[in-house]
Structures are given as C-alpha cells and as structure tokens.
C-alpha cells in the first residue's frame, strides 16, 4: 500500500500516538482501566499498522523477529522471576509484600514488574503471530 499517500501520511501521524497511548495504558493501569495485556495489544497494533502501510519488510527491519522471540520469552521469565525472587526473600510465590521494606511499596513494585512482563510477552507474541501469518505466501509455495 506504499502508493497511498493519504494512508501513509495519516499512519505516520497516528502511529506515534498509538504507541504513546500503549505506554500510558501500561504504566497508568494502576489508576485507570488497562494494564499489561491491553498495552501489549495496542503496541502490537501500532506496528501492525506500520507493516500494513509500509510493507512487511520495513516493519521487520524496524522490529526484528529475532528480538521479538527473545522479548516474548523474557516477559514470562520476568513474571516468573518476580515470583522466584519473592520466594528467595522469604515470602510465598508472587507475594510482593517482601519486595520492599514497606509492604504497599512492595506491592507497587511487584505489580509494575509483573505488568511489564505481561506487556512484553503479549506485544511480541502478537507481532510474531502476525509476522508468521503475513509472511508472503509466494515464498511458501512449494
């Protein structure tokens, strides 16, 4: 769709806003609707829009699938790692109270980290699935 000037210009204006909104949803999830899952999906949607307008190759140059694979795994690892850390600090699995001297601070820190893990995994998995489906079919034909 590279030759659609209007689409390209509008997309270039909208994509940064979508990404900023994704970050807002990610980090403002404690106060307003949203959280890691929604933020991850919105972030992935911004890059999918980029890929729809400027082509799959451009999107894969911007966000390499190899990096995405690492990010998808490290999101889950971050989540599980928080759980293991709380065990190491003497609490139960995913008991954030022990993460800081003040239990409420510990909860805030734990939720922040865990939501980041969710966001990373969701955004990169959605993009990986999209890339896998959108890969040019003529290459796949036997």
């Amino acid at each position: 769709m590279k030759h659609h000037v209007v689409l390209r210009v509008i997309a270039k204006m909208v994509i940064p806003v979508i990404m900023l909104f994704a970050l807002y949803v990610q980090f403002h999830g404690d106060y307003s609707p949203g959280g890691g899952f929604q933020a991850g999906v919105i972030f992935a949607a911004a890059i999918i829009l980029y890929s729809l307008v400027l082509g799959l190759d451009a999107a894969q140059r911007a966000v390499s699938p190899r990096v995405l694979r690492v990010l998808a795994a490290s999101g889950v690892l971050l989540y599980g790692g928080v759980g293991l850390t709380t065990i190491a600090l003497g609490g139960n699995f995913l008991d954030y109270n022990v993460l800081s001297h003040d239990p409420v601070h510990g909860q805030h820190l734990g939720i922040l980290l865990v939501e980041m893990g969710v966001g990373m995994t969701v955004a990169s998995t959605m993009l990986l699935i999209y890339f896998a489906f959108a890969g040019r079919p003529e290459e796949r034909a036997p």
């Binding site: 609707p33 949607a45 999918i48 409420v104 805030h108 995994t121 969701v122 896998a132 890969g135």
Partner: protein, 193 residues
C-alpha cells in the same frame, strides 16, 4: 436511556450474526466479526466493565480481524457453497438448546444484584481491603496482578505458548524453506562454476 442503548446494541448484534451466517465473502465476514466485537465492547462499557471492554476492542475488533485477513490472503477468499440438506433437525436442536438456556437464565441473579453469589465470596474483601493492602485505586489491576497473580502468570504463559505453537507450525518451516532455497541457489552457483 441505558435500556434503549442496550436494545439497540443487542439488535445490531443479532443482525450482524445473521448477516455473518448468510455471507459467502469471507472478507466481509471478517469485517463483520470486527464490528461484532466492537458492539460487544460497547455493551461491556455499559456494564461498567471498562477493562473488559478495552480488551475486547483491542483484541476482538483489532488483532483478531488482522489475523483473519492475513489468513484470508494465504487461503481462499470465498467459502465453498455447502450442500443443501434438510434443515429441520439442526433447527430443532438449536431451538431446544436455546429454550434450555433461556429457561436457565430464570435462576440467574439479576444483573448487578449485590446478593449474587459472585459478590458474596471475596469481592467484598477486595473492594474494602485492597486500598490498604495494595494501595492502588484500580481494583481490577490489584486483583489481576496481585491477588490473582498466579492466574495471570498462567495466562501469560498461555499466550507465550500460543506464539510458540504458531511459530512451530508456520514460522519455523518458512525459515527452513528459505534456508533450503538459499542452499539450492548456492548449489546452482557451484554447478555453474
């Protein structure tokens, strides 16, 4: 007022569902699925479930539609016309199931009933204590990430597993094929040399 919006949204949902059943063009069906999700998101908003509405709008109306379209580009755009069979038996099954479901709703508590079983278990504790225990205004986040952190870890793992599954089926083979193509080209070059 809310009842009127509810009626409008639900009638549009029913109309879209019938339209999806009758359409042959799968591109249009994918678009209607997206609309269906968007209307559901509207319904969730009316029920004050902003977090669920958010997810439905982003995943149902956004990402799934894109995935449907991406799948359509790799397969066929029209579905094959099915053979005409006697519709009486399926219709009967659908009617009986529907009647049983409607009969079942009779025992459900009314929408928003404070005495409903779901509100008498741990919901009170979440609403009253989470301010002191977690200190976060959005109780949904407190429940998802802290009280039910174990469940959310499971959900994240499910998404990761889905990604691994898709890559195992589509992504990895594509990479292997490309590598094989490159190898063939190298072989050809060697042959030419």
């Amino acid at each position: 007022m809310i009842a009127a919006v509810d009626i409008i949204l639900f009638s549009f949902l029913a109309l879209i569902a019938i339209a999806i059943l009758r359409m042959r063009d799968l591109f249009g069906v994918a678009m209607l699925f997206s609309l269906f999700s968007l209307l559901s998101a509207g319904l969730f908003t009316i029920m004050d479930a902003a977090d669920v509405a958010f997810t439905e709008a982003a995943v149902g109306a956004g990402i799934s539609t894109i995935l449907f379209l991406a799948t359509l580009t790799r397969t066929a755009r029209e579905c094959e016309p099915e053979s005409r069979r006697n519709p009486l038996v399926p219709l009967l099954v659908v009617w009986i199931t529907g009647a049983a479901l409607v009969y079942g709703t009779d025992d459900l508590p009314a929408l928003g009933d404070p005495d409903a079983p779901i509100h008498r278990h741990v919901a009170d504790r979440y609403l009253q204590q989470s301010g002191e225990e977690i200190g976060i205004p959005n109780v949904v986040t407190s429940v998802l990430a802290s009280y039910r952190g174990y469940d959310t870890l499971g959900e994240t793992t499910v998404i990761f597993t889905a990604g691994v599954g898709v890559l195992a089926l589509l992504g990895a083979t594509a990479g292997m094929m490309r590598r094989r193509d490159e190898k063939d080209e190298e072989d050809e070059e060697e042959d030419q040399a």
